[in-house]
Protein backbone atom coordinates (compact mmCIF):
# COMPACT_ATOMS: atom_id res chain seq x y z
CA UNK A 1 0.00 0.00 0.00
CA UNK A 2 1.14 3.50 -0.71
CA UNK A 3 0.36 5.16 2.63
CA UNK A 4 3.67 7.02 2.78
CA UNK A 5 3.40 9.03 -0.44
CA UNK A 6 -0.34 9.65 0.07
CA UNK A 7 0.21 11.07 3.53
CA UNK A 8 3.13 13.20 2.31
CA UNK A 9 1.02 14.53 -0.59
CA UNK A 10 -1.88 15.20 1.82
CA UNK A 11 0.39 17.24 4.07
CA UNK A 12 1.10 19.50 1.11
CA UNK A 13 -2.64 20.12 0.63
CA UNK A 14 -3.48 20.61 4.30
CA UNK A 15 -6.11 23.33 4.11
CA UNK A 16 -8.44 21.56 1.71
CA UNK A 17 -8.43 18.29 3.63
CA UNK A 18 -8.48 19.94 7.06
CA UNK A 19 -11.94 21.27 6.19
CA UNK A 20 -13.18 17.74 5.57
CA UNK A 21 -11.45 16.46 8.71
CA UNK A 22 -13.25 19.08 10.81
CA UNK A 23 -16.54 18.42 9.05
CA UNK A 24 -16.30 14.68 9.72
CA UNK A 25 -15.37 15.34 13.35
CA UNK A 26 -18.41 17.60 13.83
CA UNK A 27 -20.62 15.06 12.08
CA UNK A 28 -19.49 12.27 14.36
CA UNK A 29 -20.00 14.42 17.46
CA UNK A 30 -23.48 15.54 16.39
CA UNK A 31 -24.64 12.16 15.10
CA UNK A 32 -23.60 10.20 18.20
CA UNK A 33 -25.20 12.71 20.57
CA UNK A 34 -28.35 13.01 18.46
CA UNK A 35 -28.75 9.20 18.44
CA UNK A 36 -28.29 9.26 22.20
CA UNK A 37 -31.07 11.85 22.52
CA UNK A 38 -33.35 9.82 20.27
CA UNK A 39 -32.82 6.71 22.32
CA UNK A 40 -33.16 8.62 25.58
CA UNK A 41 -36.49 10.10 24.49
CA UNK A 42 -37.64 6.69 23.31
CA UNK A 43 -36.78 5.12 26.66
CA UNK A 44 -38.62 7.88 28.50
CA UNK A 45 -41.67 7.18 26.37
CA UNK A 46 -41.52 3.46 26.99
CA UNK A 47 -41.09 3.81 30.70
CA UNK A 48 -44.18 3.46 32.90
CA UNK A 49 -44.79 6.01 35.63
CA UNK A 50 -45.98 3.33 38.02
CA UNK A 51 -49.03 5.51 38.70
CA UNK A 52 -52.62 4.62 37.81
CA UNK A 53 -52.34 7.10 34.90
CA UNK A 54 -55.55 6.04 33.13
CA UNK A 55 -57.75 6.84 36.11
CA UNK A 56 -56.25 10.06 37.43
CA UNK A 57 -57.49 13.55 36.64
CA UNK A 58 -55.77 16.80 37.46
CA UNK A 59 -58.05 19.53 38.79
CA UNK A 60 -57.15 23.15 39.21
CA UNK A 61 -59.11 25.82 41.05
CA UNK A 62 -58.48 29.30 39.65
CA UNK A 63 -59.91 31.80 42.13
CA UNK A 64 -61.15 35.26 41.12
CA UNK A 65 -62.87 36.13 44.39
CA UNK A 66 -60.75 38.53 46.50
CA UNK A 67 -61.50 36.37 49.54
CA UNK A 68 -58.78 33.97 48.30
CA UNK A 69 -56.08 36.55 49.18
CA UNK A 70 -56.31 35.25 52.74
CA UNK A 71 -54.27 32.08 53.36
CA UNK A 72 -56.57 30.77 56.11
CA UNK A 73 -59.55 31.13 53.76
CA UNK A 74 -57.67 29.35 51.00
CA UNK A 75 -56.74 26.46 53.24
CA UNK A 76 -60.21 26.02 54.60
CA UNK A 77 -61.47 25.98 51.01
CA UNK A 78 -58.92 23.27 50.13
CA UNK A 79 -60.05 21.17 53.07
CA UNK A 80 -63.68 21.64 52.01
CA UNK A 81 -62.76 20.62 48.42
CA UNK A 82 -60.97 17.51 49.64
CA UNK A 83 -64.04 16.46 51.61
CA UNK A 84 -66.40 17.26 48.73
CA UNK A 85 -64.38 15.34 46.13
CA UNK A 86 -63.74 12.39 48.40
CA UNK A 87 -67.50 12.24 49.01
CA UNK A 88 -68.28 11.59 45.33
CA UNK A 89 -69.07 7.90 44.81
CA UNK A 90 -66.42 6.31 42.58
CA UNK A 91 -63.60 8.58 43.74
CA UNK A 92 -60.83 6.42 45.17
CA UNK A 93 -58.63 9.15 46.61
CA UNK A 94 -57.77 12.82 46.28
CA UNK A 95 -54.75 14.90 47.22
CA UNK A 96 -54.04 18.60 47.14
CA UNK A 97 -50.59 18.71 45.62
CA UNK A 98 -48.35 20.58 43.21
CA UNK A 99 -47.12 17.27 41.81
CA UNK A 100 -48.30 16.67 38.27
CA UNK A 101 -46.86 13.71 36.36
CA UNK A 102 -45.75 13.66 32.69
CA UNK A 103 -44.91 17.29 32.18
CA UNK A 104 -41.20 16.62 31.58
CA UNK A 105 -40.47 18.58 34.75
CA UNK A 106 -41.73 19.77 38.12
CA UNK A 107 -39.82 21.22 41.03
CA UNK A 108 -36.53 20.06 42.46
CA UNK A 109 -33.93 20.84 45.09
CA UNK A 110 -30.74 19.51 46.63
CA UNK A 111 -30.86 17.42 49.78
CA UNK A 112 -28.25 16.06 52.16
CA UNK A 113 -28.59 13.29 54.76
CA UNK A 114 -28.97 14.77 58.25
CA UNK A 115 -25.84 13.81 60.21
CA UNK A 116 -24.33 12.46 56.99
CA UNK A 117 -21.18 13.40 55.08
CA UNK A 118 -22.78 16.48 53.54
CA UNK A 119 -23.09 15.02 50.00
CA UNK A 120 -25.90 16.70 48.14
CA UNK A 121 -28.40 14.84 46.01
CA UNK A 122 -30.70 16.48 43.52
CA UNK A 123 -34.28 15.21 43.82
CA UNK A 124 -37.76 16.20 42.79
CA UNK A 125 -39.62 17.95 45.65
CA UNK A 126 -43.36 18.42 45.97
CA UNK A 127 -45.88 19.45 48.58
CA UNK A 128 -48.98 17.36 49.24
CA UNK A 129 -51.81 16.46 51.57
CA UNK A 130 -51.91 12.86 52.94
CA UNK A 131 -54.02 11.30 50.15
CA UNK A 132 -51.20 11.39 47.59
CA UNK A 133 -50.16 7.70 47.58
CA UNK A 134 -53.72 6.48 47.05
CA UNK A 135 -54.34 9.25 44.52
CA UNK A 136 -51.36 8.02 42.47
CA UNK A 137 -51.92 4.36 43.19
CA UNK A 138 -48.49 3.72 44.70
CA UNK A 139 -47.60 1.85 47.89
CA UNK A 140 -46.07 2.64 51.19
CA UNK A 141 -43.01 0.45 51.54
CA UNK A 142 -41.98 1.29 55.06
CA UNK A 143 -42.82 3.76 57.84
CA UNK A 144 -46.19 5.45 57.80
CA UNK A 145 -48.36 7.63 55.57
CA UNK A 146 -48.53 11.40 55.99
CA UNK A 147 -51.22 12.58 58.43
CA UNK A 148 -53.31 15.71 58.64
CA UNK A 149 -51.37 16.61 61.78
CA UNK A 150 -48.14 16.67 59.71
CA UNK A 151 -49.42 19.51 57.46
CA UNK A 152 -47.33 22.62 57.93
CA UNK A 153 -48.38 25.69 55.95
CA UNK A 154 -46.19 28.29 57.63
CA UNK A 155 -43.39 29.30 55.26
CA UNK A 156 -41.39 30.69 58.21
CA UNK A 157 -41.89 27.62 60.38
CA UNK A 158 -38.85 26.66 62.51
CA UNK A 159 -40.22 23.19 63.26
CA UNK A 160 -38.96 20.31 61.05
CA UNK A 161 -41.18 19.46 58.09
CA UNK A 162 -42.59 15.95 57.67
CA UNK A 163 -41.82 14.12 54.44
CA UNK A 164 -42.14 10.79 52.69
CA UNK A 165 -39.58 9.84 50.00
CA UNK A 166 -39.41 7.48 47.05
CA UNK A 167 -37.66 4.14 47.51
CA UNK A 168 -35.09 4.92 44.79
CA UNK A 169 -34.11 8.11 46.62
CA UNK A 170 -33.79 6.09 49.84
CA UNK A 171 -31.44 3.68 48.06
CA UNK A 172 -29.43 6.56 46.60
CA UNK A 173 -29.01 8.52 49.84
CA UNK A 174 -29.05 5.88 52.59
CA UNK A 175 -26.94 3.04 51.12
CA UNK A 176 -29.58 0.34 51.54
CA UNK A 177 -30.39 1.34 55.12
CA UNK A 178 -33.86 2.49 56.10
CA UNK A 179 -34.59 6.19 55.80
CA UNK A 180 -37.54 6.08 58.18
CA UNK A 181 -36.74 8.15 61.28
CA UNK A 182 -33.80 9.83 59.53
CA UNK A 183 -33.59 13.48 58.51
CA UNK A 184 -32.97 15.48 55.33
CA UNK A 185 -31.31 18.89 55.12
CA UNK A 186 -32.21 21.20 52.27
CA UNK A 187 -29.86 23.84 50.85
CA UNK A 188 -31.08 26.33 53.50
CA UNK A 189 -30.27 23.70 56.18
CA UNK A 190 -33.97 23.32 57.07
CA UNK A 191 -34.63 19.91 58.63
CA UNK A 192 -37.24 17.42 57.44
CA UNK A 193 -38.18 14.21 59.22
CA UNK A 194 -38.68 11.18 57.01
CA UNK A 195 -41.68 9.18 58.18
CA UNK A 196 -42.31 6.91 55.23
CA UNK A 197 -40.97 5.46 51.97
CA UNK A 198 -43.10 4.78 48.89
CA UNK A 199 -42.72 2.94 45.61
CA UNK A 200 -42.80 3.13 42.65
CA UNK A 201 -42.10 6.65 41.46
CA UNK A 202 -41.08 7.74 37.97
CA UNK A 203 -41.60 11.21 36.56
CA UNK A 204 -39.36 12.23 33.61
CA UNK A 205 -37.51 15.35 34.55
CA UNK A 206 -35.05 17.84 33.02
CA UNK A 207 -32.31 16.25 35.14
CA UNK A 208 -31.63 12.54 35.51
CA UNK A 209 -33.66 12.46 38.75
CA UNK A 210 -36.73 10.79 37.32
CA UNK A 211 -37.09 8.28 40.21
CA UNK A 212 -36.25 10.55 43.10
CA UNK A 213 -38.95 12.40 45.03
CA UNK A 214 -39.51 14.03 48.41
CA UNK A 215 -43.14 14.76 49.31
CA UNK A 216 -43.58 17.49 51.95
CA UNK A 217 -46.74 17.51 54.08
CA UNK A 218 -48.58 20.76 53.36
CA UNK A 219 -51.38 22.45 51.45
CA UNK A 220 -50.91 23.89 47.97
CA UNK A 221 -53.12 26.93 47.60
CA UNK A 222 -51.02 29.93 46.75
CA UNK A 223 -51.69 30.32 43.02
CA UNK A 224 -54.88 28.33 42.90
CA UNK A 225 -55.30 24.93 44.49
CA UNK A 226 -54.41 21.84 42.48
CA UNK A 227 -55.68 18.32 43.04
CA UNK A 228 -54.96 14.84 41.78
CA UNK A 229 -58.11 12.73 41.88
CA UNK A 230 -58.11 8.99 41.28
CA UNK A 231 -61.34 7.31 40.29
CA UNK A 232 -62.45 3.72 39.92
CA UNK A 233 -61.41 2.25 36.55
CA UNK A 234 -63.74 3.24 33.69
CA UNK A 235 -65.65 5.91 35.61
CA UNK A 236 -63.69 8.98 34.54
CA UNK A 237 -66.32 10.20 32.04
CA UNK A 238 -69.13 10.21 34.60
CA UNK A 239 -67.15 11.49 37.55
CA UNK A 240 -65.17 14.33 35.99
CA UNK A 241 -68.23 16.64 35.54
CA UNK A 242 -69.37 15.81 39.09
CA UNK A 243 -66.06 17.01 40.51
CA UNK A 244 -66.44 20.41 38.90
CA UNK A 245 -70.09 20.66 40.04
CA UNK A 246 -69.35 19.78 43.66
CA UNK A 247 -66.39 22.16 43.85
CA UNK A 248 -68.41 25.08 42.48
CA UNK A 249 -71.22 24.21 44.87
CA UNK A 250 -68.74 24.43 47.74
CA UNK A 251 -67.25 27.73 46.50
CA UNK A 252 -68.15 29.57 43.30
CA UNK A 253 -65.58 32.38 43.60
CA UNK A 254 -63.39 30.54 41.09
CA UNK A 255 -63.11 28.65 37.81
CA UNK A 256 -62.34 24.96 37.58
CA UNK A 257 -59.96 23.52 35.04
CA UNK A 258 -59.46 19.80 34.44
CA UNK A 259 -57.19 17.53 32.46
CA UNK A 260 -56.80 13.79 32.61
CA UNK A 261 -53.29 12.44 33.09
CA UNK A 262 -53.72 10.59 29.79
CA UNK A 263 -54.14 13.94 28.01
CA UNK A 264 -51.10 15.38 29.76
CA UNK A 265 -49.06 12.27 28.97
CA UNK A 266 -50.06 12.53 25.33
CA UNK A 267 -48.76 16.09 25.15
CA UNK A 268 -45.52 15.01 26.76
CA UNK A 269 -45.06 12.19 24.27
CA UNK A 270 -45.77 14.59 21.42
CA UNK A 271 -42.81 16.64 22.65
CA UNK A 272 -40.71 13.50 22.72
CA UNK A 273 -41.77 12.59 19.20
CA UNK A 274 -40.88 16.10 18.01
CA UNK A 275 -37.43 15.84 19.62
CA UNK A 276 -36.91 12.44 17.99
CA UNK A 277 -38.09 13.73 14.62
CA UNK A 278 -35.91 16.83 14.81
CA UNK A 279 -32.84 14.82 15.83
CA UNK A 280 -33.39 12.33 13.00
CA UNK A 281 -33.57 15.25 10.61
CA UNK A 282 -30.39 16.78 12.05
CA UNK A 283 -28.61 13.43 11.55
CA UNK A 284 -29.80 13.03 7.95
CA UNK A 285 -28.93 16.61 7.08
CA UNK A 286 -25.45 16.65 8.55
CA UNK A 287 -24.60 13.24 7.06
CA UNK A 288 -25.86 14.46 3.69
CA UNK A 289 -23.94 17.73 3.87
CA UNK A 290 -20.73 15.96 4.91
CA UNK A 291 -21.23 13.36 2.19
CA UNK A 292 -21.66 16.08 -0.41
CA UNK A 293 -18.59 17.82 1.00
CA UNK A 294 -16.52 14.68 0.47
CA UNK A 295 -17.94 14.23 -3.04
CA UNK A 296 -17.10 17.88 -3.79
CA UNK A 297 -13.55 17.82 -2.50
CA UNK A 298 -12.81 14.48 -4.18
CA UNK A 299 -14.38 15.66 -7.45
CA UNK A 300 -12.22 18.77 -7.28
CA UNK A 301 -9.10 16.70 -6.54
CA UNK A 302 -9.89 14.37 -9.42
CA UNK A 303 -10.34 17.22 -11.90
CA UNK A 304 -7.27 19.01 -10.63
CA UNK A 305 -5.13 15.87 -10.81
CA UNK A 306 -6.28 14.84 -14.29
CA UNK A 307 -2.79 15.12 -15.77
CA UNK A 308 -1.27 13.39 -12.76
CA UNK A 309 -3.73 10.51 -13.06
CA UNK A 310 -2.95 10.17 -16.78
CA UNK A 311 0.76 10.11 -15.93
CA UNK A 312 0.26 7.47 -13.25
CA UNK A 313 -1.70 5.38 -15.73
CA UNK A 314 1.16 5.75 -18.25
CA UNK A 315 3.64 4.65 -15.60
CA UNK A 316 1.67 1.46 -15.02
CA UNK A 317 -1.21 2.26 -12.65
CA UNK A 318 -4.21 0.04 -13.34
CA UNK A 319 -7.73 1.44 -13.00
CA UNK A 320 -7.88 -0.38 -9.69
CA UNK A 321 -4.73 1.38 -8.52
CA UNK A 322 -6.26 4.78 -9.34
CA UNK A 323 -9.44 3.90 -7.45
CA UNK A 324 -7.42 2.58 -4.53
CA UNK A 325 -5.43 5.81 -4.39
CA UNK A 326 -8.51 7.97 -3.87
CA UNK A 327 -10.15 5.53 -1.47
CA UNK A 328 -7.00 5.31 0.63
CA UNK A 329 -6.60 9.07 0.61
CA UNK A 330 -10.19 9.52 1.76
CA UNK A 331 -9.81 6.77 4.35
CA UNK A 332 -6.83 8.55 5.87
CA UNK A 333 -8.71 11.88 5.92
CA UNK A 334 -11.82 10.17 7.33
CA UNK A 335 -9.81 8.49 10.07
CA UNK A 336 -8.21 11.77 11.08
CA UNK A 337 -11.72 13.26 11.25
CA UNK A 338 -13.05 10.30 13.24
CA UNK A 339 -10.25 10.40 15.79
CA UNK A 340 -10.92 14.09 16.33
CA UNK A 341 -14.66 13.34 16.20
CA UNK A 342 -14.60 10.73 18.99
CA UNK A 343 -12.97 13.32 21.25
CA UNK A 344 -15.51 15.94 20.13
CA UNK A 345 -18.41 13.51 20.67
CA UNK A 346 -17.42 12.86 24.28
CA UNK A 347 -16.67 16.53 24.82
CA UNK A 348 -20.10 17.55 23.53
CA UNK A 349 -21.72 14.81 25.59
CA UNK A 350 -20.08 15.98 28.80
CA UNK A 351 -21.49 19.44 28.04
CA UNK A 352 -24.96 18.02 27.36
CA UNK A 353 -24.92 15.89 30.50
CA UNK A 354 -23.73 18.64 32.83
CA UNK A 355 -25.45 21.68 31.32
CA UNK A 356 -28.69 20.01 30.30
CA UNK A 357 -30.27 16.69 31.20
CA UNK A 358 -28.57 14.84 28.35
CA UNK A 359 -28.04 11.10 28.66
CA UNK A 360 -24.55 9.58 28.71
CA UNK A 361 -23.06 8.59 25.37
CA UNK A 362 -23.19 4.87 24.66
CA UNK A 363 -19.89 3.64 23.19
CA UNK A 364 -21.84 1.38 20.85
CA UNK A 365 -23.34 4.44 19.18
CA UNK A 366 -19.83 5.80 18.68
CA UNK A 367 -18.76 2.53 17.02
CA UNK A 368 -21.91 2.53 14.86
CA UNK A 369 -21.38 6.14 13.80
CA UNK A 370 -17.71 5.43 12.98
CA UNK A 371 -18.78 2.53 10.74
CA UNK A 372 -21.50 4.70 9.17
CA UNK A 373 -19.02 7.48 8.39
CA UNK A 374 -16.50 5.00 7.01
CA UNK A 375 -19.15 3.69 4.64
CA UNK A 376 -20.23 7.22 3.81
CA UNK A 377 -16.62 8.14 3.04
CA UNK A 378 -16.22 5.17 0.73
CA UNK A 379 -19.48 5.80 -1.13
CA UNK A 380 -18.90 9.57 -1.40
CA UNK A 381 -15.38 8.97 -2.72
CA UNK A 382 -16.40 6.23 -5.13
CA UNK A 383 -18.55 8.53 -7.25
CA UNK A 384 -15.77 10.95 -8.33
CA UNK A 385 -13.04 8.30 -8.07
CA UNK A 386 -14.80 6.10 -10.61
CA UNK A 387 -14.57 9.02 -13.00
CA UNK A 388 -10.81 9.18 -12.37
CA UNK A 389 -10.43 5.54 -13.36
CA UNK A 390 -11.87 6.40 -16.78
CA UNK A 391 -9.19 9.00 -17.48
CA UNK A 392 -7.13 7.73 -20.39
CA UNK A 393 -3.36 7.36 -20.07
CA UNK A 394 -3.21 9.39 -23.30
CA UNK A 395 -3.65 12.49 -21.11
CA UNK A 396 0.02 12.08 -20.18
CA UNK A 397 1.26 12.95 -23.69
CA UNK A 398 -1.52 15.24 -24.84
CA UNK A 399 -0.48 18.29 -22.80
CA UNK A 400 -3.59 19.93 -21.31
Amino acid sequence: MEFGPIIRALKRNKVRFLLIVVQIAITLAVVTNAITMIRDEGQKMLKRSGFDDDNIVWVRSKPFSPAFKDQAYRISTVNADLRAIQGIPGVVAVANTNFLPWQGGGSSGEMAVGGGDGSKYRTQTYTTTPGILDALGVHLVSGRLLRDTDLDDDPNSKAPATVIISRDLEKLMFNGKSAVGRQLLDSGNSISNIVGVFDPFYNPYGWPIHEYAVMFAGHVSRSGAMYLVRVKPGTMKQIAPLIEKRMLQANNGRNIQMQTIDEIKDRYFTQGRIVRGAMSMVISLIVLVTGLGIVGVTAFSVTERRKQIGTRRALGATKGAVLRYFLLENWIVTNAGLILGVAAAYGLNILLVTKTAGAKLDWRFVVAAVVLLWLQGIIATLIPAMRATRFSPVIATRGE
Partner: protein, 236 residues
Protein backbone atom coordinates in the same frame (compact mmCIF):
# COMPACT_ATOMS: atom_id res chain seq x y z
CA UNK B 1 11.91 -4.88 -30.12
CA UNK B 2 9.03 -3.02 -31.79
CA UNK B 3 7.28 -4.29 -34.93
CA UNK B 4 4.27 -2.42 -36.37
CA UNK B 5 2.55 -3.54 -39.53
CA UNK B 6 -0.25 -1.63 -41.27
CA UNK B 7 -1.37 0.13 -38.12
CA UNK B 8 -4.36 2.43 -38.46
CA UNK B 9 -5.53 5.01 -35.95
CA UNK B 10 -8.55 7.17 -36.68
CA UNK B 11 -9.83 9.97 -34.44
CA UNK B 12 -13.53 10.50 -34.91
CA UNK B 13 -15.37 13.60 -33.87
CA UNK B 14 -18.93 14.50 -34.86
CA UNK B 15 -17.77 16.39 -37.91
CA UNK B 16 -14.49 14.86 -39.07
CA UNK B 17 -12.50 11.69 -39.17
CA UNK B 18 -8.77 12.23 -38.76
CA UNK B 19 -6.61 9.40 -40.03
CA UNK B 20 -3.76 10.07 -37.60
CA UNK B 21 -1.95 6.86 -38.58
CA UNK B 22 -2.64 5.19 -41.89
CA UNK B 23 -1.05 1.96 -43.05
CA UNK B 24 1.73 2.65 -40.58
CA UNK B 25 4.59 0.16 -40.52
CA UNK B 26 7.85 0.39 -38.62
CA UNK B 27 10.44 -1.94 -37.11
CA UNK B 28 12.81 -0.93 -34.34
CA UNK B 29 15.49 -3.43 -33.28
CA UNK B 30 16.68 -3.94 -29.74
CA UNK B 31 19.42 -1.46 -28.82
CA UNK B 32 18.50 1.09 -31.49
CA UNK B 33 18.19 4.83 -30.82
CA UNK B 34 15.57 6.09 -33.27
CA UNK B 35 14.57 9.70 -33.79
CA UNK B 36 11.05 10.36 -35.12
CA UNK B 37 10.68 13.60 -37.04
CA UNK B 38 7.94 15.23 -39.01
CA UNK B 39 5.80 18.32 -39.22
CA UNK B 40 3.24 19.18 -36.57
CA UNK B 41 0.13 17.04 -36.91
CA UNK B 42 1.93 14.30 -38.84
CA UNK B 43 1.06 11.68 -36.21
CA UNK B 44 4.25 11.53 -34.13
CA UNK B 45 2.52 11.66 -30.76
CA UNK B 46 -0.21 9.33 -31.98
CA UNK B 47 2.47 6.80 -32.96
CA UNK B 48 4.13 7.16 -29.56
CA UNK B 49 0.82 6.66 -27.77
CA UNK B 50 0.11 3.50 -29.74
CA UNK B 51 3.68 2.24 -29.31
CA UNK B 52 3.50 2.91 -25.56
CA UNK B 53 0.09 1.18 -25.21
CA UNK B 54 -1.36 4.47 -24.00
CA UNK B 55 -3.96 4.34 -26.74
CA UNK B 56 -5.74 1.66 -28.77
CA UNK B 57 -5.55 1.34 -32.55
CA UNK B 58 -7.88 -0.08 -35.16
CA UNK B 59 -6.13 -2.14 -37.79
CA UNK B 60 -2.79 -3.84 -38.15
CA UNK B 61 -0.48 -5.83 -35.94
CA UNK B 62 1.81 -4.60 -33.20
CA UNK B 63 4.42 -6.84 -31.63
CA UNK B 64 6.36 -5.52 -28.67
CA UNK B 65 9.32 -7.50 -27.38
CA UNK B 66 8.19 -10.44 -29.58
CA UNK B 67 4.73 -10.43 -28.05
CA UNK B 68 1.53 -9.54 -29.91
CA UNK B 69 0.03 -6.66 -28.00
CA UNK B 70 -2.81 -5.88 -30.41
CA UNK B 71 -5.60 -7.24 -28.26
CA UNK B 72 -4.79 -6.78 -24.59
CA UNK B 73 -7.04 -5.81 -21.71
CA UNK B 74 -6.57 -2.44 -20.05
CA UNK B 75 -5.03 -4.22 -17.10
CA UNK B 76 -2.53 -6.16 -19.21
CA UNK B 77 -1.54 -2.97 -21.05
CA UNK B 78 -0.96 -1.26 -17.68
CA UNK B 79 1.36 -4.07 -16.61
CA UNK B 80 3.36 -3.92 -19.86
CA UNK B 81 3.69 -0.13 -19.59
CA UNK B 82 4.86 -0.57 -16.04
CA UNK B 83 7.38 -3.33 -16.70
CA UNK B 84 8.72 -2.86 -20.22
CA UNK B 85 8.26 0.79 -21.16
CA UNK B 86 9.68 4.02 -19.83
CA UNK B 87 8.16 7.37 -20.78
CA UNK B 88 9.83 10.77 -20.98
CA UNK B 89 7.44 13.62 -21.69
CA UNK B 90 7.90 17.10 -23.06
CA UNK B 91 6.40 18.66 -19.93
CA UNK B 92 8.23 16.28 -17.53
CA UNK B 93 4.97 14.99 -15.91
CA UNK B 94 6.22 14.88 -12.34
CA UNK B 95 3.65 14.72 -9.54
CA UNK B 96 3.80 18.21 -8.02
CA UNK B 97 2.96 17.07 -4.47
CA UNK B 98 5.71 14.46 -4.35
CA UNK B 99 9.46 14.98 -3.93
CA UNK B 100 12.13 13.49 -6.21
CA UNK B 101 12.29 10.26 -4.21
CA UNK B 102 8.54 9.62 -4.29
CA UNK B 103 8.27 10.57 -7.97
CA UNK B 104 10.95 8.09 -8.98
CA UNK B 105 9.28 5.58 -6.69
CA UNK B 106 5.93 5.58 -8.54
CA UNK B 107 6.52 2.89 -11.22
CA UNK B 108 8.46 0.75 -8.73
CA UNK B 109 5.54 0.73 -6.29
CA UNK B 110 3.15 -0.32 -9.06
CA UNK B 111 5.49 -3.28 -9.58
CA UNK B 112 5.12 -4.21 -5.93
CA UNK B 113 8.88 -4.09 -5.42
CA UNK B 114 10.17 -4.42 -1.83
CA UNK B 115 11.06 -1.14 -0.08
CA UNK B 116 14.76 -1.92 0.24
CA UNK B 117 15.23 -2.57 -3.47
CA UNK B 118 13.22 0.52 -4.38
CA UNK B 119 15.41 2.69 -2.18
CA UNK B 120 18.62 1.32 -3.69
CA UNK B 121 17.33 1.84 -7.23
CA UNK B 122 16.03 5.36 -6.55
CA UNK B 123 19.28 6.51 -4.96
CA UNK B 124 21.35 5.00 -7.77
CA UNK B 125 19.17 6.60 -10.46
CA UNK B 126 19.35 9.99 -8.72
CA UNK B 127 23.14 9.65 -8.68
CA UNK B 128 23.29 8.89 -12.40
CA UNK B 129 21.29 12.04 -13.22
CA UNK B 130 23.35 14.06 -10.74
CA UNK B 131 20.56 14.86 -8.27
CA UNK B 132 21.65 12.84 -5.25
CA UNK B 133 21.59 15.93 -3.08
CA UNK B 134 17.98 16.76 -4.00
CA UNK B 135 16.15 13.54 -3.08
CA UNK B 136 13.62 15.43 -1.02
CA UNK B 137 13.11 18.44 -3.25
CA UNK B 138 9.71 19.07 -4.80
CA UNK B 139 9.44 19.62 -8.58
CA UNK B 140 8.58 23.27 -7.91
CA UNK B 141 11.97 23.65 -6.25
CA UNK B 142 13.85 22.51 -9.35
CA UNK B 143 14.65 23.97 -12.77
CA UNK B 144 13.14 22.52 -15.95
CA UNK B 145 16.36 20.69 -16.79
CA UNK B 146 16.49 19.21 -13.31
CA UNK B 147 12.85 18.16 -13.53
CA UNK B 148 13.50 16.35 -16.79
CA UNK B 149 16.47 14.63 -15.14
CA UNK B 150 14.11 13.47 -12.38
CA UNK B 151 11.86 12.06 -15.12
CA UNK B 152 14.88 10.27 -16.60
CA UNK B 153 15.77 8.95 -13.14
CA UNK B 154 12.19 7.64 -12.93
CA UNK B 155 12.83 5.70 -16.16
CA UNK B 156 16.31 4.57 -15.09
CA UNK B 157 15.12 3.19 -11.76
CA UNK B 158 12.41 1.17 -13.52
CA UNK B 159 15.02 -0.12 -16.04
CA UNK B 160 12.60 -0.70 -18.97
CA UNK B 161 13.48 -2.42 -22.26
CA UNK B 162 12.06 0.43 -24.33
CA UNK B 163 12.12 4.18 -23.69
CA UNK B 164 9.60 6.38 -25.50
CA UNK B 165 10.34 10.10 -25.40
CA UNK B 166 8.03 12.78 -26.80
CA UNK B 167 10.09 15.93 -27.48
CA UNK B 168 12.07 15.49 -24.23
CA UNK B 169 14.01 18.69 -24.85
CA UNK B 170 11.09 20.69 -26.27
CA UNK B 171 10.70 22.82 -23.13
CA UNK B 172 14.40 23.23 -22.38
CA UNK B 173 17.12 25.65 -23.47
CA UNK B 174 19.97 24.26 -25.57
CA UNK B 175 22.41 23.77 -22.70
CA UNK B 176 19.91 21.78 -20.67
CA UNK B 177 18.84 19.95 -23.84
CA UNK B 178 22.42 18.83 -24.37
CA UNK B 179 22.61 17.44 -20.82
CA UNK B 180 19.41 15.46 -21.40
CA UNK B 181 20.69 14.14 -24.75
CA UNK B 182 23.96 13.09 -23.09
CA UNK B 183 21.99 11.13 -20.54
CA UNK B 184 19.82 9.45 -23.21
CA UNK B 185 22.98 8.59 -25.18
CA UNK B 186 24.46 7.02 -22.08
CA UNK B 187 21.33 5.01 -21.38
CA UNK B 188 21.19 3.79 -24.99
CA UNK B 189 24.84 2.75 -24.85
CA UNK B 190 23.98 0.52 -21.87
CA UNK B 191 21.61 -1.33 -24.21
CA UNK B 192 18.17 0.24 -23.75
CA UNK B 193 16.15 0.84 -26.94
CA UNK B 194 15.05 4.47 -27.34
CA UNK B 195 12.42 5.94 -29.64
CA UNK B 196 12.41 9.72 -29.44
CA UNK B 197 10.13 12.23 -31.12
CA UNK B 198 11.93 15.51 -31.74
CA UNK B 199 11.75 18.67 -33.75
CA UNK B 200 15.38 19.44 -33.28
CA UNK B 201 17.76 18.23 -36.03
CA UNK B 202 20.57 18.58 -33.52
CA UNK B 203 18.91 16.10 -31.17
CA UNK B 204 17.94 13.83 -34.04
CA UNK B 205 21.58 13.70 -35.08
CA UNK B 206 22.41 11.94 -31.79
CA UNK B 207 20.19 9.03 -32.78
CA UNK B 208 21.36 6.02 -34.77
CA UNK B 209 18.42 6.36 -37.18
CA UNK B 210 15.94 9.02 -38.27
CA UNK B 211 12.35 8.23 -39.25
CA UNK B 212 10.24 10.85 -40.94
CA UNK B 213 6.45 10.95 -40.68
CA UNK B 214 4.04 12.71 -42.96
CA UNK B 215 0.22 12.47 -42.78
CA UNK B 216 0.34 9.44 -40.54
CA UNK B 217 2.81 7.45 -42.64
CA UNK B 218 6.51 6.76 -42.53
CA UNK B 219 8.10 8.37 -45.56
CA UNK B 220 11.38 7.77 -47.28
CA UNK B 221 13.38 10.97 -46.87
CA UNK B 222 15.52 10.18 -49.90
CA UNK B 223 12.45 9.92 -52.11
CA UNK B 224 9.65 12.04 -50.71
CA UNK B 225 6.15 11.19 -52.02
CA UNK B 226 4.78 13.16 -54.89
CA UNK B 227 2.40 15.10 -52.72
CA UNK B 228 5.16 16.19 -50.36
CA UNK B 229 7.42 17.13 -53.24
CA UNK B 230 4.59 18.83 -55.06
CA UNK B 231 3.73 20.89 -52.01
CA UNK B 232 7.34 21.95 -51.67
CA UNK B 233 7.55 22.88 -55.31
CA UNK B 234 4.38 24.89 -55.33
CA UNK B 235 5.56 26.72 -52.22
CA UNK B 236 8.63 27.96 -54.10
Amino acid sequence: MLRMKNIRKIYRTELVETHALEDFSLNVDAGEFVAIMGPSGSGKTTFLNVAGLLDVFEGGVYELDDKDVSKLSDREMSHIRNQKIGFIFQSFNLIPDLDLFDNVDIPLRYRGMPAGERKTRIEKAAEVVGLSSRLHHLPSQMSGGQQQRVAIARVLAADPKLILADEPTGNLDSLMAREIMDLLDEINRRGTTIVMVTHSPECAARASREIHLFDGRVIDVERPPALFGGALKSAK
